[in-house]
Subunit: 404 residues, 2 copies
């Protein structure tokens, strides 16, 4: 008789967004006349830029003729896209990353979930708290996290690194030595980031203790400050300790298009074994490449027209971020994020829990956000608003909050 993977059963239900959905539905039913504004989910709303659309149409036309039709893509991605990324995201910033160290995928969520597979089961992970849930949940499913304590909402074999106002929303080096360290800057959900010297400390630490950093750079396009690194490979020594995850979802609006990449330098080794080879083996065995038309769309992100159009899109969202940040500050809230990231992280007022503030905002201002406690125990007492709505809705939502 077959048996199931018991580690899957350890995972508590993922109630955050379904709970939000239920509460909003109940409110809407009771108050059909109220217009709700949603600043909760991290999904983009602006359409794809013209350069992307043009590239998609052109690639679709290629697929219509035998001479230009493309079947199976190279497992690791088309050279044209890997080269564009290597040049624009790394070499132009002085980082020594080659095209063949970049693996094209269908998105950073898949990569951040699958990457743990190439490590031994008894490796110990460290994560920020609060954190993007995929890092922990996928390690739970792999049996790497020990047992769950429902009271503290933590796993026995995970090292948590609190990121609260006491730490300026940055993690401190953990007391216990981890094998794998997940870092995401600019951060989801807090919107905070760290400077290049701070990131250099992590790289030095990882090299010293023999840990791997899995660096999620999904939000790098939103960086506006000079001293904030766009990639971990700006740091000396990152080639021997860091894997970087890249996304096209937020910089180019590809949440529904699906494209991402993982960078594994060939210098990153355990003994003689290159992690690059293991990830290549995983791609070759379990994956068949991102769609040709989507990889061509990715290439257009790096065209001259694409760069200009996408900067306008980011500026649009960052104007929203500014409106939220300034509006909440003016209204007396303690606010962080929003400067190098499309997320604004606020402290709930008057000692409210994250969920109490959610209810308060929904009922009094008809605005939907995300309770910080949904991202981990240290998120309790915080709340996330996102800049991905329309400008009009964002401005209206903030006026409502200020009027409370």
């Amino acid at each position: 008789m077959f048996r199931v993977n018991e580690d899957y059963l350890k995972l508590p239900g993922s109630y955050l967004f379904s709970m939000i959905g239920r509460k909003v539905a109940a409110f809407t039913q009771a108050n059909p006349d109220k217009k709700i504004i949603r600043l909760g989910i991290g999904d983009v709303t602006q359409p794809l830029a013209p350069a992307i659309i043009e590239s998609l149409h052109s690639a679709v036309d290629e697929m219509a003729h035998a001479e230009t039709f493309r079947g199976y893509a190279p497992d690791l991605g088309y050279e044209f896209l890997r080269k564009a990324m290597a040049e624009n995201d790394y070499q132009s910033k002085g980082c020594e990353i080659k095209a063949d160290e970049i693996f094209i995928s269908d998105g950073a969520k898949c990569d951040s979930g699958n990457i743990q597979e190439i490590f031994a089961k008894d490796n110990k992970i460290a994560v920020c708290d609060p954190v993007y849930p995929v890092y922990v949940d996928t390690n739970v499913m792999a049996g790497r996290t020990g047992s769950y304590d429902a009271g503290t909402e933590t796993w026995s074999d995970v090292i948590y690194m609190p990121c609260t106002k006491e730490t300026d929303f940055a993690p401190e080096l953990p007391k216990e030595t981890p094998d794998i360290i997940y870092l995401c800057f600019p951060n989801n959900p807090t919107g905070s980031t760290i400077t290049k010297p701070q990131l250099q400390e992590w790289v030095d630490y990882a090299n010293k203790v023999g840990a791997v950093i899995i660096y999620d750079a999904a939000y790098e396009a939103y960086i506006t400050e000079k001293n904030v690194p766009h990639t971990i490979y700006e740091c000396v020594g990152a080639r021997t300790c860091a894997i970087e995850l890249r996304s096209f979802s937020k910089n180019a609006g590809f949440t529904g298009v699906r494209l991402g990449a993982t960078v594994i330098p060939k210098d990153l080794k355990a003994g003689d074994v290159m992690l690059h080879s293991l990830w290549a083996r995983r791609h070759g065995t379990k994956y068949n490449g991102a769609p040709y038309i989507v990889q061509r769309a990715g290439e257009a992100v790096y065209s001259e027209a694409g760069k200009v159009q996408l900067q306008e899109q980011i500026d649009y969202y960052m104007r929203n971020a500014g409106v939220i940040y300034k509006g909440l500050k003016d209204a007396g809230y303690n606010v962080s994020g929003g400067v190098n990231a499309p997320y604004i992280w606020l402290e709930t007022p008057k000692g409210m829990t994250s969920w109490e503030f959610f209810d308060y905002l929904l009922e009094k201002a008809n605005v939907v956000g995300t309770p910080g406690s949904g991202f981990g125990p240290s998120g309790e007492g915080y709340f996330r608003l996102t800049a991905f709505g329309s400008y009009e809705n964002t401005a209206a939502a903030i006026e409502r909050i200020k009027a409370l």
Copy 2:
């Protein structure tokens, strides 16, 4: 210090297609005037059908406007595609599969590689021999297959079911009871298939011993004979023992477009646990859906125009299959497959090994095929040709082989 997944290191190198590539390259260099014809790889060559192209363009246009732009897709796939599949692939054939039992993915390779994750590590798998390598390799990477014997090219904890001319290229019920049984009909690589009563025996067996069948139906569109099932759910009792993998790669030429689906009936349970729930959890945690534009292309496969155009494409490839089959038979070869599948499986003549015949065909006829031994030890002495080339090349290749 981090450690790697040692199970990845157990995997012998995947030399089949790289060895073929090296041999062809060496031959071409030594014989620059010879025109090589490739009937080796299972990739399609015909362009996407007009109905698919139209649908892709239309979906791209939707992504260009805020009102019709689509961000994150539903984790499990858009309802429009799940509904089209449920109606066309199942309900119209009298099979009781509902839209919400279908999970849309980016391809059957990913699904066939990932599906093992929802099972316990100590479950024992059974595979046909020869076999599509992904089934075994992904179980090796998960640590489920024991140790490798380089002499017999087999794993200690895998049950092999030989499919040779002695068994009419169908597997027999295994002596040792497996927990998970991989079946693929019409079969890659042999091109053979089994009848509905034969498949019913497998379903009855699985229900009796408490095994799950993972049924790969990637080639069902090529079935021409009436008594061959298009889906395992044509069999009574399959809802309590079978998962089905579906692909758009070969029926619609989506090898470079990437779309697939997995069907898990809600009646398939281990105790109280629905495998459906576990797979949904994996999708929700590690996957972000197939691209919107690709799911619309999938929908067009089921449109009236799409159905007509894709049948023409399949007829085109099956005409090739007929040319290969008849030509080889006329030349005195023992041939199977090619009737319900785009693969022709031939016995190598004069006791040649699969690789000896590869060399012979390359040197004497300048035709490239795939050595059967690359698919498993029982593939030794066999050879695969595919029907996915152009008609002209296929006919020319067969003329050359007949002239030997």
